[in-house]
């Protein structure tokens, strides 16, 4: 089971986000407008740069196994999308297109929740536009 630091535990509890821990990730689902849902994942391993610690917050957009052609067709547009984003970016990891943002552990629970919600909203909109589905 994933080991969760005290700082991250406090952020999750304070933000009111319900989650389950698996071997590598913490996972939850947010309900969005229009009856849609969106999964989020948090890597419990901390990334450190100097004294600065953050966590990756991820939300899936499309499985390349199923939607590779669609992602390839739009990949350049997704790089342009990355350039316009104020927070987070599209990337591909483990055969999955994801929206991902880094969030420091030294933020308030409200700010942490804002980032998770924003990641889910953006990933869901991209999923809807790319695959016309709601698999995640």
């Amino acid at each position: 089971m994933a080991i969760v630091s005290d700082k991250l535990k406090k952020l999750l509890e304070g933000s009111g986000l319900e989650y389950q821990a698996s071997s590598y990730y913490l996972r939850g689902t947010l309900k969005l407008a229009g009856g849609r849902t969106q999964m989020w994942f948090i890597d419990p391993k901390t990334d450190s740069v100097g004294d600065y610690e953050d966590h990756d917050i991820l939300s899936p957009i499309a499985d390349l196994g199923t939607h590779r052609a669609k992602v390839e067709k739009k990949a350049f547009r997704l790089l342009e999308f990355n350039g316009k984003r104020r927070l987070g970016h599209v990337c591909v990891m483990g055969g999955m297109a994801l929206f991902k943002a880094d969030c420091s552990v030294d933020v308030s629970p409200e700010a942490f929740r804002s980032v998770v919600e924003e990641v889910c909203r953006v990933a869901d909109a991209l999923e809807n536009s790319l695959t016309e589905g709601d698999s995640f």
Binding site: N82, G83, R85, V107, E110
Partner: protein, 145 residues
Amino acid sequence: MSAENDKSEKTFKRRLEGRLRSLGLSWVEAGNYLKGELDTGEDRTQVFLVDTNIDQIGSYEDHDILSPICRVADLEERIKAVSVTLLELTGNQKVGHVAVVNGFLVYKADCRVDAPDDVFEVLLKTVCETADRLEKILSEGLDQH
């Protein structure tokens, strides 16, 4: 823009200028950016742009640090052919991501507004070194940015 916002943006810009100065870097103002060059070794340099505008999501605040890899128009077909690979590279990096900004392919990272100086330095160097490495690969050794 309120007087308070204007004051806080000026304060933030001065803080960024102080950070660049303490790293021994010079810069010019280019719109909302502070633009300069970093030595990336092996006689190569890399342009950096530090955004003085603060991005805000809820109460989370950061700003962009970016470095140009190449002009999209110069290598458009090559970039389009490797766009998924660039997204994969982005997924594998601990810091930053590839993006297209104003007709340039860039490497870009978000730096929290209250990040300490050493973090700003690491992010700036990582962005420049990664952009330079990608420029070298995509443009077959040229060092235009």
